[in-house]
Structures are given as C-alpha cells and as structure tokens.
Symmetry: C2
Subunit: 205 residues, 2 copies
Amino acid sequence: MTERIPRRRPGRPRGAKSGDTRARILAAATEEFGERGYEAASMRAIARRAGVDPALVHHYFDDKQHLVTEVVEVPLQPDRLVAGALDGPLDGLGDRLVRAVVTAWDSATVRPAAVAALRSAIGQGPVSRMLREFLRREIMHRIAEHLDEPDAELRAELAASQLVGVIMVRYVLEFEPVASLPTDELVARVGPSVQWHLTGRPPGS
Amino acid sequence: MTERIPRRRPGRPRGAKSGDTRARILAAATEEFGERGYEAASMRAIARRAGVDPALVHHYFDDKQHLVTEVVEVPLQPDRLVAGALDGPLDGLGDRLVRAVVTAWDSATVRPAAVAALRSAIGQGPVSRMLREFLRREIMHRIAEHLDEPDAELRAELAASQLVGVIMVRYVLEFEPVASLPTDELVARVGPSVQWHLTGRPPGS
C-alpha cells in the first residue's frame, strides 16, 4: 500500500500526517542504509520499505545526500556532543570526549545510523566524501579550536584517531572484552590516551 | 587473450611459467579487491583482469577466501610484523608497534591490499568474518600473550584500537596533517598512547 505524493510546494510539509510520513521515511532510510550502506542504498528501496511513492521521498528530502545528512546528524547530533564535552576544564577533556562518544554510540537509536555512517565514510564515492568533510568540520575542527597549541590540528586528529579506533573495536568489529566494557572503565582506560594527544608533551617537542 | 587451464593436479604448480601466471592472478586480485572490496569482487572479473581462464584462478587458489588470504597475508605478513615488534624490552613496545604498522602500510605494495582488507573487515559477510578472526588471532592474541597482566586481552585490544584508529585517519580517511606526518614524529606521538594501553596503570586498577 503506497501513499500518493502531495502537490509539490516549497518548504517543509505541515500537519501530523506529513510528520508521520517523514518519520516513516527516515526510519526506512536508517534501516536501508544500515543494511546496504549509503552508497548502495536507493531512494526507490527506501520508498518501498516506508510504503510510500518514491516521488514522496524526493518531495521530503530532495536527494540521497540530504537524506543521509538527516539520518546521521539528527540522532547523533555531533555538534552538541562535542560542544558538551568541550565544556569544562581542559585536563578532563579526554575523559569527557570518551564518555560523550561512548554514551551516544551505546544508544540503540544512534548506533545503526552511526555504524552505517562509519562504513560509508570508509568507502568511496560522493557520500563518503561528504561524511569525511562532516567529520573534519563537526568534530576535529571544533576540538582543535579549543586547544591553545601551535599543533592543535594534529593533536585533534590524533585524539580523533583514538576515538575512531575505540568505535571500530567496540561497535563495528565488536571484539570482546572491549565491546562489553562498562562505560566508566572504558573512560578510565581510553581517556588518558585521548588526553595525551590533546595536551601531552611528546619526546622532542 | 586467455591462457588455457592446465591439467588439474595436486599441490602447487612448478616452473617459471606457472609462477608468472600465479603472480599475475595475485596482482589482478589485489587490484580488483582494492577497487570493489572483497565481498563484491568476483573470481570471473579477476580472471578477466589477469587475462586467464576463470578455471585457472580456481586451479591456483580454490575459492575467493583462499585468494583473499594470499592477497592479505603475503604482502602484509602480519605474523612477522608483530613478531618483529614484540622482540625487545616491554617499555618500548608501543613505539615499536607503531613503527612496524606505519612502515608496512607506507609501502606501496602493501597499502592497496591492506586498505581493501580493512574496508572489508568493517563490512558484512563471510570474508568480513574471516578477516576479523585473522585480526584477532594474528595481531591481538600475539600481543596479549606477550603481556604479563591479568587483563592482557583488554590491553592488547585497546592498543590495537589506537593502531587501527591511526590507520583509519592516515591511510583510509587520509586526513592531513596525520596522512603526511613523518614516521618518527608519528611514533613519538602515538607510541606513548599504545604503551599506556599495554603497561599503564589506569585510575582504580
């Protein structure tokens, strides 16, 4: 049973019905992206999952890149996540970043979209490039801006490398014991490593 | 122009001719895997690239999983790589692991196959499962065995998380400045973080 496309009009559709349809398309897109990856997923398959006309998917989200942005940004809210962690003394930033990342990814709503995003960022193609830029802009630059160091960009990237590595082992490869380690223990183990990258003094520097 | 399949016989083929064909198939497989990923690549397409009959590919390598193992293990030699790094005092192990990983991945012969392997390990399917097991067995267990700690498995996994994160940022996402950082500087920056995971004393432990 598919839903007919409404007359095309500028701006967001109004009313509870439209909101439901939009949410249903988003949920279907999250599933499709999670199973097939962003590059392989099609607007047609998303429409089929949501039980709506493909033109309706385009009506709400224009194209696949817009849909990807919504699926990744809305549940993950990387800007808020990083902003929250940055708020506080610099010497606890490593711990706060690990806690923020782990808390977000542990959530059942965020995880499928986030894993799909990571898989796609690693791939090739336009969506992959978009996700990489997003990572740089939303995560690394924000952290770098916060550091009062001449090598702030390098430090932020290396801190991100540790965070990405933990995400890979815990959520993508799902290796035990890291996959089931309680958040507090993970923070105690990985926070100092992230902190080292942010504010440590490497030999010869 | 395709090469005819020789009579099927047990064991490895002998002679320079066979060696060339085998090497040509391996080179073609590395290219195909690099471009399409291990899951999407087909034995038929590899045969086409190598200019040989598909049956010849099966003759030398049985199935795709065997071919993947050769493409990943032969250039990367993860067992030698880890064994080399393990040889020496424990307090320099972090530095040696970073140096071994970066030196291997910086090599132009290793990199395409290694990036393809990482992309596939992150994916879903039988090859992905095989690569994950390989990572656990060849890398993490060997490091864990070397540590005289009750939480050796966890420490080895967290050390691997930092190494995987650096590989992601430097070779897969190719973010600057990490992508172009000289090896010595990368060792000085990341070695202490890996060492922390191996032998550090986290708060409350």
